[in-house]
Symmetry: C2
Subunit: 128 residues, 2 copies
DNA sequence: ACGAGATTTAGAATAGTTCCAGACGAGCAT
DNA sequence: ATGCTCGTCTGGAACTATTCTAAATCTCGT
């Protein structure tokens, strides 16, 4: 998977990518560091950022900024939106077809939209 | 205007709000500080943040996070989207009717969307 | 004009991220 | 398999954006 994108296969990359792929949360870099270092050899903070950047450049994960706090990462790269809960701050996925927009297109004035994910403010399933 | 929202009218608030209302850019807190202090009495950095937070809480401005860098502020609170140019990083407005989505609504699974603004990745008018 | 309480201030403190220079190790060529 | 090369990893310092704190100041109802 990494190899297919022209990235060398290293232990840190495997660890980070499997963690991200295994969770439906949208962990911050710190979450990743904590999880990956939970019971084994340590990954330095700088490495976490390095790896996240590599994976993002390769298109294997996407990073997203939410107004409060740190950048969150998501290994689900198929087109979908994010719902940021105004009550609890959680970030949940929203299936693409559940919020109808053209995936990409040209605005009436000619500007081009290449949206991969939209961020919606709302209320999540628990706080609803 | 400030008074209408139950905020005391102070010189810093007036200065920041007029600056934000006068520009179609989407300035960062630092931009605001620079602009407001350009030729007059100084506003401390902490005050800029204080004021931006008050205004945001009162609904007179909205803050938005873009993946790279600092939070940007916008005094145009009517519903509209933001287009983040992938080439130059600029943030431009997109009229609501130019990108059709329901302003708010309920997803098929019951979660509530209260979107005020969506952030689109794309290419701006200059870089087009 | 006065007083209560909100607001501002400067600077220190914190959080998130990046930079650096050197050590290390993946994978190509042999 | 072995050596080499360069991409990758590391710890720590540095940096940037933002928040905190405690005291000074100012707005506005009375």
């Amino acid at each position: 998977m990494l190899r297919a994108r022209g990235l060398r296969v290293t232990e840190p990359r495997v660890a980070v990518l499997s963690y991200l792929a295994s969770t439906s949360r949208h962990p911050t870099a710190e979450d990743v560091e904590t999880a990956v270092n939970a019971g084994g050899p340590v990954l330095s903070r700088a490495s976490v950022y390095n790896v996240l950047h590599s994976l993002a450049r390769a298109g294997l994960v996407v990073g997203m900024s939410v107004k409060d706090g740190a950048t969150r990462y998501d290994a689900h790269v198929a087109p979908h939106h994010h719902l940021v809960c105004q009550a609890c701050g959680r970030v949940e996925d929203v299936a693409w077809q559940d919020f109808g927009v053209a995936e990409r297109g040209v605005l009436p004035d000619g500007r081009t939209v290449r949206a991969l994910a939209l961020t919606l403010d709302g209320v999540c399933s628990d706080c609803g």
